[in-house]
C-alpha cells in the first residue's frame, strides 16, 4: 500500500526529473535600433560614376575578377 507520503515523494521526484525538459532558450534576440546619424550617399552617386550604377558595378566586378589568378594565367 502506497502511503500519501510515498506518493508525494514520487510526484516530487518526477517533477524534478522533468524540470530539465522545460528549459527555455537563452539566446538573446536583439532588436536593431534605427540609425540616428547623418545620411550617406551610395558609392556610385558622385564622381567619377555620377549615379551610373551599372558602370560602378562593372568597375567593381573587374577588380573582383582580377583577384582570381587562375582566370588570369589559365592557358
Amino acid at each position: 500500500m502506497i502511503t500519501m507520503r510515498t506518493m508525494a515523494a514520487i510526484v516530487a521526484a518526477a517533477a524534478l526529473a522533468l524540470a530539465g525538459c522545460g528549459e527555455r532558450p537563452q539566446v538573446i534576440n536583439y532588436k536593431q535600433g534605427t540609425y540616428q546619424g547623418k545620411p550617406d550617399t551610395p558609392a556610385y552617386k558622385n564622381a567619377p560614376f555620377n549615379g551610373n550604377k551599372q558602370q560602378w558595378d562593372n568597375a567593381i566586378d573587374t577588380r573582383m575578377q582580377a583577384q582570381n589568378e587562375y582566370a588570369r594565367i589559365r592557358d
Binding site: 536583439y30 558609392a43 552617386k45 558622385n46 567619377p48 560614376f49 567593381i60 573582383m64
Partner: protein
Amino acid sequence: MARMKFLCDAERCIECNGCVTACKQEHEIPWGVNRRRVVTINDGVPGERSISVACMHCSDAPCMAVCPVDCFYKTEEGVVLHDKDLCIGCGYCFYACPFGAPQFPQTGAFGVRGKMDKCTFCAGGPEPDRSDAEFQKYGRNRLAEGKLPACAEMCSTKALLGGDGDTIANIYRDRVMHRGKGGEVWGWATAYKLPPAGAQQGVPGTGAPGAAPAPAAPPQGAKS
C-alpha cells in the same frame, strides 16, 4: 550587387602583414589603432595557420544591435559603417563584436577612449564622398572610386579576397578545385597547384577507372 564580404584563405596567408600595412597607409591610421590584423594559430609549430581579421561586415551585426546611440548603419552593398559624430565611445560594440574589430584611439595618458574606429571596407562614412572631412574621420573612400579595399588588392598571395560574397566564394571554390583537398594538398604546391596539362577535373580517361584522381604534378621547379 549583393553583400560585400572578406574571405581569408588560411592556406595562402603567409603572415606578411601587408594587408595591415596597406590599411594603415591608405587611411593614415594613428598609432594604437589597427583596423586589420593578422592572427596566427600555433605560431612556430609545423602546420601553423594565419588569417587576416578585420570587421567582417556581418549580415546581422551585433555592434549595430547593442549601440546605445544607434550610430551604425548598413549601406546597400552590405557594408557596416558608423557615424563618428554620434559615437560616444562607450565600447559596447567592442564587447559585442566576435572579431574584436572596433578600435578605440587612446587620446590621453590615462587611456581615455576616443570615438570608435573600425574597418570601413574602404567605403568612407556619412560625409560627402571623397571629401577631406570623410578622409579625416573615416579614411579613403575607395568604393566610390570603383576600387576594392586596399588590404585585399594589396595582398601579395591573394589570400585575402574582398568583394561581393558570391563572387569571392566562387573564386575560392575555383582555387580549391585546382589545388585539391585533404591528402591532395601537400608540399610547396599547396596553394598554387596547377592542373596537369590535359587533365582537367571531370574529364574521362585521366586516371584509372574507379580510382581516385591522381595528385597533380607540381609546377616546374617546385619541390614537394
